[in-house]
Symmetry: C2
Subunit: 218 residues, 2 copies
């Protein structure tokens, strides 16, 4: 598989379990935003950085205890994350740096969001297990993305598994939203689910790379 | 720069700020271990997995409050991490899967170690800031490694910066050791230093990839 194919796959978020009609709906909703960005000559990389900035604000909002507001701001930031790819395609395709910046700041966004969630629990009574869950969810999310990036570094694709980024973001927004509406245990439960799914996906990707490379060397 | 060159560079831990004489001393110390592993027909990948297992034990030891013992076990696990590379070279060079497994489990090891440190602080009074520091040190360490892996995915090298893995491990072992010897503030201070250095190194790597790709596209 060529490097350029992998970059295109990355920009298209290939291999996701989010149904295609959801992606189409998101794209249709964001089309006016893309047209506005084009008219204002805003570059895809500016949108990428703005998306990270919004998620950082969301993390601050969550850390200050406003979970429902945080869920809404995370949603806004994550939708912007779909705009940069669409904008790149509309302006003649993304650059390698754009693809690199997009996924690197996606990781930074996940990191600050979990720091915000941990800060929220550290302000509560008995924070120990929720904070451990948040740490494991962050570490697992990073492991999933790192395994993929590292596999692409040796020329393989490893975009397999249940807990890819769109699924992780939907889960964490759901947890923040439910907890913000008063159903507090939902967020801790979802943090443990993310921790378990990302650990399983990491193992799956290591296994996938092992199988692929052992077939190739036969 | 070719992919195979980068893999070799990865196996050699190129671009590190740890002085060459330290690396030579470590290699000389580990030579009998490498010979033993060769005699017992232990594969480099087995050593990699064992090294991760030892770091996971260290994380548990740290989490249970034995910081000095934890520092010693981390040191043992990290030294084993130098054995897998030496063993791979002694048995005719590493495989792409070996290189992938090595760096993926290095990340997993860093993750469990910081979970152990966070668990240690969660058992203490007033854990909030130390836990946030541990989270930021973990996130920053991952960002540094992710930025490099992602850069290699688009055919670039990004092994630049102050806070690469050997430096991070030396710092965290130093913090654990000093805190274990009774100088408790050292560990929190070092977690903040790791958080700051890794954030700076991540920014440096993004900048490096931006410069490299913008020169190429001229």
């Amino acid at each position: 598989m060529s490097a350029s194919h992998e970059q295109a796959g990355d920009l298209m978020r290939g291999g996701s379990l989010v149904p295609p009609w959801v992606k189409d709906a998101v794209r249709a909703t964001l089309a006016p935003v893309v047209r506005l960005a084009l008219a204002l000559h805003i570059t895809p990389n500016t949108v990428t950085v703005a998306g990270f900035g919004i998620v950082a604000v969301a993390a601050f909002v969550v850390g200050s205890g406003q979970l429902l507001a945080g869920a809404l701001v995370v949603t806004a930031g994550s939708l912007l994350d779909a705009v940069d790819g669409a904008l790149a395609r509309a302006t003649g395709g993304g650059t390698p740096f754009g693809s690199f910046l997009d996924s690197t700041l996606d990781r930074a966004g996940e990191a600050v969001l979990y720091v915000g969630i941990a800060a929220y629990y550290l302000n509560q009574a008995a924070p120990a297990w929720p904070v451990i869950a948040a740490l494991l969810a962050l570490a697992g999310s990073f492991m999933v993305s790192y395994a993929r990036a590292r596999a692409e570094g040796i020329g393989l694709s490893a975009a397999v598994g249940l807990a890819q980024r769109p699924e992780r973001i939907v889960l964490v927004v759901l947890g923040l939203g439910l907890a913000g509406l008063g159903f507090r245990p939902a967020l801790v439960a979802i943090l443990w689910i993310i921790a378990a799914l990302t650990a399983a996906t990491t193992a799956q990707r290591i296994w996938h790379v092992w199988r692929t490379t052992s077939v190739e060397s036969r």
